[in-house]
Every structure is written in structure tokens, then in C-alpha cells.
Amino acid sequence: MLTNISTVLRTCVQRNGTAAVASARSYADFTPQASFEIKKCDIHKLDEAPATEVVMTREEGLKYYRTMQTIRRMELKADQLYKQKIIRGFCHLYDGQEACAVGIEAGINLTDHLITAYRAHGYTLTRGGTVREIMAELTGRRGGIAKGKGGSMHMYTKNFYGGNGIVGAQVPLGAGVALACKYQGRNELCVSLYGDGAANQGQIFETYNMAALWKLPAIFICENNKYGMGTSVERASASTDYYKRGDFIPGLRVDGMDILCVREATKYAADHCRSGKGPILMELQTYRYHGHSMSDPGVSYRTRDEIQEVRSKSDPISMLKDRMLSNNMASVDELKEIDVSVRKEIEDAAQFATTDPEPPLDELCNHIFYKEPPMDVRGTNIWSKLKSIS
């Protein structure tokens, strides 16, 4: 009965256009927090695994839901804009993997550091970027997070070092950030992400060695989405136990489709680092719905059935939604409102991204160096003298 009254009230308020409804009537209706059983992580060189019974509050749930949905819709909008040729070049989409980015951020602080490869739009968001500036970067406009000069693979925010195009190169960089954290005594750590395809890169093993030797506060995370471009893990790796590949570095294998699993494992890993024990490795088992990039249809090396199965059984957003609804932590309508609000945010951002002007030509030669006095730059020929003002 209470629910019916609140539904009526809600509808009345909606007609008046206010959006403050949800919080006003939450306390009486919804469970403020609940306990959830999550899958146990496989462990390597560790005495115990992260907890399997975890608590999530209603606020946390709504926040995770909103962020994951934002990433999802932003990526789908990018797909659309790419097909309209408004986004060009490389575009690697993250839909399906949302629980990883959002779960990791939930387990660390914004004062910690993070670096990833080229499938980076989700992380740019969780690390403080706005949808507007991400989309405007994809469309190459002056309002882009890198002023239109970087594009899809080269987006940066505070404590987020991109967005990196060369497979594997970001891992030593991340360990370097971790070294700086330890050196400067700031109790911060660095999360370095890489994929199953990158996991065989030699520079990653060189990094493992130094990180362990010097006890760097580094969390290495392998996002295993089963395919390195068109090559399945079995065809690329002699060992697909990516969480063990750090050998002397302890590791966890985590269900990357369950945001609570990811969060719990990240918290566990962060504690490990912050207690001075050195690096730790996490393998997140996840899945990408799109092909490797927008040039890859993604169905020549895997079946549509497989993709459909993951969507119907393991979608991270659906899983969270089901959990919240079945524990009375939110209502269907409330989540729908969030969906509508997210859609609007994405539409507004896309509108901005398609109407914002391109960068001005006098921006061409800026930022070659950092804080350098103005200098001349040679254009396409000797008579073309361009200016660089850092």
C-alpha cells in the first residue's frame, strides 16, 4: 500500500517536472544496504582470497549503476557517430567491460593513479573526465579533453596517464608512476591495465621483475576479454592463467563481469600494496561486445551465439540491476529514470561534440614541448614558418 501511494505521489511530482523525487522517498521504501555472496577468487601465492560476502549500500548501487550505464550508452553513441563518419581513425569500444572500470575505481581513490591501453573511454570517465569532453575528443573538436589533438587513444586526466596506443608500453609506464609514488612517500598506488593480447609482451615481464624487486605499489590488472584483436587466448598464450604469469608476484583471478567482485578484489589488492608488500596482479575475466575496434566486425573469430550468451547471462549492468531490484534497494522506475537521465546526458554531449568547432590552425604546433619559450616550427616547406607557443 505504501508503495502504491508513493507511486502516485511520484507520478504527480514528475508531472511538475522536478527530479528530486527519488531521494525524498527512499528511506521508508528501500533497503539501505544488503549483503551479497560473490564468487571466490582463484589465488596465486596468497594465503587467503578476498571476502566472498560483501556489503553494498543503496547509494553505492545507484552510483555504480549510473556510471556503468553512462559508459555503456557513451560507447554505443560513439559506435553510431563512427558509422556516420563523424568519429574517424581508431575507436576501441568498452561495452561489456563496464564492471571493470567502475569496480576498480570503487576500490581505489582518485588520488591513486591509473594507466591503461587504448580501450580507454570508460577509464577516462571514471578517472574524472566528463562525457562531453570525451565525446568532443572523439570527434576531434577544441572542447575535447586533449583539445582534439589526441583522439580516442590519447585521453588524459589528473592521475590518469591515458590512453596508450602501443600494446604493452603502458605497463612499464605504470610501474614508473608507482615508483614515483613510493619515492615521494605519498601512500598512493598505481593501477596498470593491459589485455590478454598484451600479456605476452616482454616489457611486461621486465616490469614484473623490477616492481617485485623494488616493492613498488603497483597493481597490475589483466583485462582478459578472451581475444587479442582476432586471436583467441588459446592461440596466443602458452599459459592462459594470466593471474599466475607474474610468477613471483601474487595474483588473483576475478569475475570481471561482477562489479562487486572487482571492487572487493581491488580493495584487497590496494591493501596489499599500501601495506608495503609490493606489487600484486589481478586477472579480470571479462568480455567485449564490440569487435576489437570499429574496423573489426568481431564475428569472424567468435560466434554471434557466444556474444549473445554473454549478453543474456553475464551482462554487468543487468546483474547489478537484478541484485538491486531483488533486494528492494531500488525500484524499476527509479532505474528507468537514471536511464533516461543518462541518455539525455549522452545526447547533450553528442550534440556538443558534433557542433563544437575544430581546433584552430594556430594550435597546430603548440605543445611540442612543455613550458618552452615560443619557437618557430617548419611547415610543409621552407616558406611556411609556423609558431609554437607552449
Partner: protein, 359 residues
């Protein structure tokens, strides 16, 4: 007739080889072939000709090639000869070089030459220098190939031109085809060469069709290294270029012809060895030289050409200093307007020619 040739081409016994030669005498007229198909056919024919030849790289086998250059080859030749590698350039390049040292003839594909930087030690120190260090005892018959230079909207880390870097090193042969005929002849020559060859393709040229002469369709058609080709005769100015910018030069020449300026367009084909004789002969005729490339100006292909012209007889024939048209001296930006202004456009070439000719 054509279908018979196709059937025989895929046959493997020796008798059909003889038969093929017979049919070739009455081969068809020139055909239109894209650069991609020319590369594909060249590799197919060389794989068939010599069983020591094999291809390795990322996505070359089951994916048919990231840019479809190796389409159909895995299906035809199988796992042993068309090998998908993990994303580990330093490792697989080293493996390819080792295989070459031990008697095989690998074609090592870099998905783009940007990624060859991960493996450059193996290309230079293990491949290029070994024949010299061993005083001729140990050769390295390997081809490193893949797309080089700018594409469209792929930003700074994926757009660099490596012609100057590889052209700098003794022990390497470096070629940069423009047309389908170049692609076919130079790749065949590269695979048959007993030395390490860096074969710089261009992604934006893959889909471009060119007319291929009868002669160039022959299975033994090769183009010698160190020999440029004059694509267009002219008397007022020499334009020297390689790869995609040869097209730009020809377009600029067409525009200028309407104004009575006749440009001679030289397609280098070969970066190392460089066909200085051809350039000199042309300059001695036209008295003006403009080089055009996509790479950066400092220490680039154009810079080398300037130095060589200065060192030789053509210097005295110059009526004006050599002009270099190059990429802008910045990392490649992403936004379209910025990217377009980072590379030589036809109008830049025309402008530079007019300045050089003082018109």
C-alpha cells in the same frame, strides 16, 4: 584462357610450370589491379615458388591480415607457412631473423611500422649488421614489410614515417613502392634478395587500382633496387618523391601543365640504395629540384637528396636551391583539420614549385 591460367597457377607439379610458360606467351592485355592485390599475388607466387618462404605476423593467417593483404594465403598454405603471432614484436622479429639465419626466407609483417620500433634492435643489430660482422659467412635473407607513414585519423603513435630511420643504416635495403606494379615487382625482388629488406607500404594506397602492363604480370617480374622511375617527363622542374606522394606530385604536375609549367616526376621506388644518377640526370635537364615526402624534415629523405645533389655534378646545373616539401615538424594531431595541415597537400607542392621557379 584466363581461367585455365588460374587453374594451372594453383597447381603444384613441375609439368604445369612448363605449361604455364607456354600460356604466358599469349597472356591478356593490361589489367587494373589494386596495390593490395598486387602484394597478395606477389606473396602467393613467391610462397609457391620457394618453400623456404613463409609469412609471420599479427593476424596474418586466420584473420586474412589486418588490412587483408594476406587474404587467402593461410587457407592455401596452412599453419606452417602462414603464422599468426602473439602481440610481441621484439620476440617474433627475433624469431624471424633467426629463422632467416638458419636457411629459411621469412616475410616478417609489422601491422604498421610504428610497431617495428618495439623490434628495431632485431632489425638493425641482428639482421642488418650480421653479414658484415661475420665477413659474409652469415646472411639474413628476410623481408620486413607493412604499412608506413600517416593513415587517416590514427594520431601521433600510429602515423610516423620510417623511411629515413631505416634508410640511414648500412646493411639494409629499403624500398617504398607507389603503384601496384612497384608493389609487385619490388616485393618479389625483396623476397628473392638474400639481404634484409625493409618494405614500406602505405595503407591509403592499398585500395588504389593501377593498370598493370603485360610484362609486370609475369611470375618472374622483379624491379631492381636502386632504380627510380620517371613517371612523367618534364623540362621545367624535377619533382622527386616516394610512395603516396608520387600521386600528389602527378596531380600537381597536371595542374601546372595548364599554366605551361612541365614537371618531371621521379618515383624513387628505392630509398636505399637511392637512385642519385636518375635524379642528377633529371636536374641537369630541368635545373630545378623539389623533393616531396610525408616524413619529417630533419634528417629526412629530402635532406639526403639535397646533400647528394650538392656533392655531385648536378649542383652546377641548379638555378635555385633545392626545395623540400615534407610533413610538418610535429607529432601527428588527431583532429581532421589539424591532420590535413600536417602533411603536404597538392597546393603546398604547387606553391613550392612556383617559389622555386620564381613564378
Amino acid at each position: 584462357m584466363a581461367s585455365m591460367r588460374c587453374v594451372l597457377r594453383f597447381g603444384r607439379n613441375a609439368a604445369s610450370v612448363v605449361l604455364r610458360r607456354e600460356f604466358h606467351r599469349s597472356a591478356p592485355a593490361p589489367v587494373q589491379v589494386t596495390v593490395r592485390d598486387a602484394l597478395n599475388q606477389a606473396m602467393d607466387e613467391e610462397l609457391e615458388r620457394d618453400e623456404r618462404v613463409f609469412l609471420l605476423g599479427e593476424e596474418v593467417a586466420q584473420y586474412d591480415g589486418a588490412y587483408k593483404v594476406s587474404r587467402g594465403l593461410w587457407k592455401k598454405y596452412g599453419d606452417q607457412r602462414i603464422i599468426d603471432t602473439p602481440i610481441t614484436e621484439m620476440g617474433f622479429t627475433g624469431i624471424a631473423v633467426g629463422a632467416a639465419m638458419a636457411g629459411l626466407r621469412p616475410i616478417c609483417e609489422f601491422m604498421t611500422f610504428n610497431f617495428s620500433m618495439q623490434a628495431i634492435d632485431q632489425v638493425i643489430n641482428s639482421a642488418a649488421k650480421t653479414n658484415y660482422m661475420s665477413a659474409g659467412r652469415q646472411s639474413v635473407p628476410i623481408v620486413f614489410r607493412g604499412p608506413n607513414g600517416a593513415s587517416a585519423g590514427v594520431a601521433a603513435q600510429h602515423s610516423q614515417c620510417f623511411a629515413a630511420w631505416y634508410g640511414h643504416c648500412p646493411g639494409l635495403k629499403v624500398v617504398s613502392p607507389w603503384s601496384a606494379e612497384d608493389a609487385r615487382g619490388l616485393l618479389k625482388a625483396a623476397i628473392r634478395d638474400d639481404n634484409p629488406v625493409v618494405f614500406l607500404e602505405n595503407e591509403l594506397m592499398y585500395g588504389v587500382p593501377f593498370e598493370m602492363s603485360e610484362e609486370s604480370q609475369s611470375k618472374d617480374f622483379t624491379i631492381p633496387f636502386g632504380k627510380a622511375k620517371v613517371e612523367r617527363q618534364g623540362s621545367h622542374v624535377t619533382l622527386v618523391s616516394h610512395s603516396r606522394y608520387v600521386s600528389h606530385c602527378l596531380d600537381a604536375a597536371a595542374v601546372l601543365a595548364k599554366e605551361g609549367v612541365e614537371c618531371e616526376v621521379v618515383n624513387l621506388r628505392s630509398i636505399r640504395p637511392l637512385d642519385v644518377d636518375c635524379i642528377e640526370a633529371s636536374v641537369m635537364k630541368t635545373n630545378h629540384l623539389v623533393t616531396v615526402e610525408g616524413g619529417w624534415p630533419q634528417f629526412g629523405v629530402g635532406a639526403e637528396i639535397c646533400a647528394r645533389i650538392m656533392e655531385g655534378p648536378a649542383f652546377n646545373y641548379l638555378d635555385a636551391p633545392v626545395t623540400r616539401v615534407t610533413g610538418v615538424d610535429i607529432p601527428m594531431p588527431y583532429a581532421k583539420i589539424l591532420e590535413d595541415n600536417s602533411l603536404p597537400q597538392i597546393k603546398d607542392i604547387i606553391f613550392s614549385i612556383k617559389k622555386t621557379l620564381n613564378i
